[in-house]
Amino acid sequence: MDEIAPEYDVVVLGTGLTECVLSGVMSVKGKKVLHIDRNDHYGGEAASVNIESLFKKYGNYNKGEEPWKKYGRINDWNVDLVPKLLMANGELTNILVSTDVTRYLEFKQIAGSYVQQGSGAKATVAKVPSDASEALRSPLMGLWEKRRAKKFLEWVGAFQEDNPSTYGGLDLNRCTMREVYEKFGLEATTRDFIGHSMALYQTDEYMNEKGAAKDTVQRIRLYVNSMARYGKSPYIYPLYGLGELPQGFARLSAIYGGTYMLNTNIDEIEMEGGKVSGIKATMKEKSDEGEGMKFSTKTKKIIGDPSYFPGKVQVVGHLLKAICILTHPVAYTDNSDSAQLIIPQSQVGRKNDIYIAIVSSAHNVCPKGYYIAIVSTIAEGSSNHHLELQPGFERLGKIEEKFMGPPIPLYEPLESGRNDNIFISKSYDATSHFETTTDDVRDIYRRAEQEELVVEGLREGDTLVGQE
């Protein structure tokens, strides 16, 4: 086995999406990258796993049983551990296109975007209106409200950040979103689906925050523009599951010289004068007997996920998540092969929305006839977490198999990393998409490199990789 170089510009720990995007971008920019994961697979928390691994991860079966055997070929399953989708017009799509990682992946639309009104037996589920004209046909609103919603969405559509004459006489830099809703005379139920299923806020706090109205308008525009891109929903999804995303960026990094080592434990992070100076590590496959390969190398920077730095992160919340296997599409989703369904918090007496993300064999994540639905929310209590997800389970009908572990802690770094040059990412949060993940990518890049990350044109003029 070749020698590991004596020094790297950056050592990246963990192969989650955040780390792989950063690794890829840095390699393309000519940095010498060593990328390490303690696991035997790519993706960390953002991996997709097969059905046997899923059962083993959650351990919900009796010893000696092999319940995965009744679910067809094990490798036909690629079940996401993170319940997220890509916004078609979002930043991750932009990065994928700018870096050409789209060449290794194929994407499909998510077939529909739905929202629940009411709860229990009276719950109704309807398509989220995607533009002003759909608002006019939506069963979510009465006749007069439809016209008001249309007016509002037209105003959002005409909005230009740098042109205050499009602000509609509102002081958007200072007013709250509540004031905007009031100006358009929108009812509470309309505010609910606009704020939660279009702007994708998970709580109602956004409504009272001064100066946040602009952000809300931009979020609605992202939704509407993503929707307009392919037509069925604002979301797209990679064939074979989200775990393909980190693999794609890892490949990009490797193509530009990044060195990859799975099955590698960090034994020690070496410091000099308060700053990181190198690492000591051991590469050893699980099946290998003996010591494994020990090595050390110098580096001035480390980027890593929270699991590699338990002493340098704090818990900011807990995510509840249940992965459910179904043999039927979800009711009221027009028999869609995939969908997102949002249950806004106010409809079921909660503070945080419940999300359901559904994908199926159409996305090569399970055999024909199966659907994978992930129900998730932010934990509000310290017990009875199953009950917190109950309104979501009610939407699913018969559930063949349910995988639900303890609440998942969400971590954030305690420090920016400027002092010790250890830059730590955040956990994948409860939002339904990757916009906050790419915010974190940009933030880490800024902290580590002291410049803004510009992905546009990153690979332009790159002749080595041309197709033909």
Binding site: Y42, A88, E106, Q109, Q247, L252, Y260, V465
Partner: protein
């Protein structure tokens, strides 16, 4: 990225696209073989793979049949046993390379063949390439692996077999042509008759049928 076959404009014309992956120990000449096949070029001082995501090259088998290879190089990720499943996914054919002057490289190649036969789909076409044949042309004593031994192993394991030189281009085209001939054109056609190469959505902003950035579509 699965195999694609479509009938062209000419009656009876066939065009098929297949994913080909390269495997083998570091420095046996995987990237060099691809470079020779795709660009008809050779570098004496190639560093380890940098820059080639995947390359494509087309072979015309006869007047009416064209095979296009989408060739994936390991990008060095196999060096520390860190190849991603994405790399093998839907591979239709594999070239397993060893260096005829390095005995250990054939053992490594055999291990890859075993892994392929265990993990890949059962119809995958595997070719074994004993590379750097030019090195033994003038110095037969440099040879570490007898042709007959490798050939016997290949026959037993059901592999195509060539001794190649990326440097002189000996047998390089022959290797890829033999693979193209063995690929199941008919079968792929029956499974997957598609004019449109990609089944998913096209993410590029200028992609036809999509409306990009700019104005809001409210």
């Amino acid at each position: 990225m699965t195999s694609r076959v479509s009938t062209g404009t000419r009656p009876g014309a066939r065009f098929a696209q297949f994913k080909l992956v390269l495997l083998g120990e570091s420095a046996v000449g995987k990237s060099s073989l691809v470079l020779r096949f795709v660009k008809d070029h050779f570098d004496d001082y190639r560093e380890s793979t940098i820059g080639a995501a995947f390359l494509t090259q087309t072979i015309s088998l006869d007047d009416s049949t064209t095979v296009k290879f989408e060739i994936w190089d390991t990008a060095g990720q196999e060096r520390y046993k860190s190849l991603a499943p994405m790399y093998y996914r839907n591979a239709n054919c594999a070239v397993v390379v060893y260096d005829i002057t390095q005995a250990s490289s054939l053992d490594k190649a055999k291990a890859w063949v075993k892994e392929l036969q265990r993990q890949a789909n059962e119809n995958i076409i595997i070719a074994l390439a004993g590379n750097k044949a030019d090195l033994v042309a003038d110095h037969p004593d440099k040879r570490a692996i007898a042709t007959a031994d490798a050939e016997a192993y290949a026959r037993e394991a059901g592999l195509l077999f060539f001794e190649t030189s990326a440097k002189t281009s000996e047998n390089v085209r022959e290797l890829f042509t033999a693979i193209a001939r063995k690929l199941p054109l008919e079968q792929a056609g029956a499974r997957n008759m598609r004019a449109n190469p990609r089944q998913g959505v096209d993410l590029r902003p200028e992609a036809p049928g999509t409306q990009g950035g700019g104005a809001c579509n409210c």
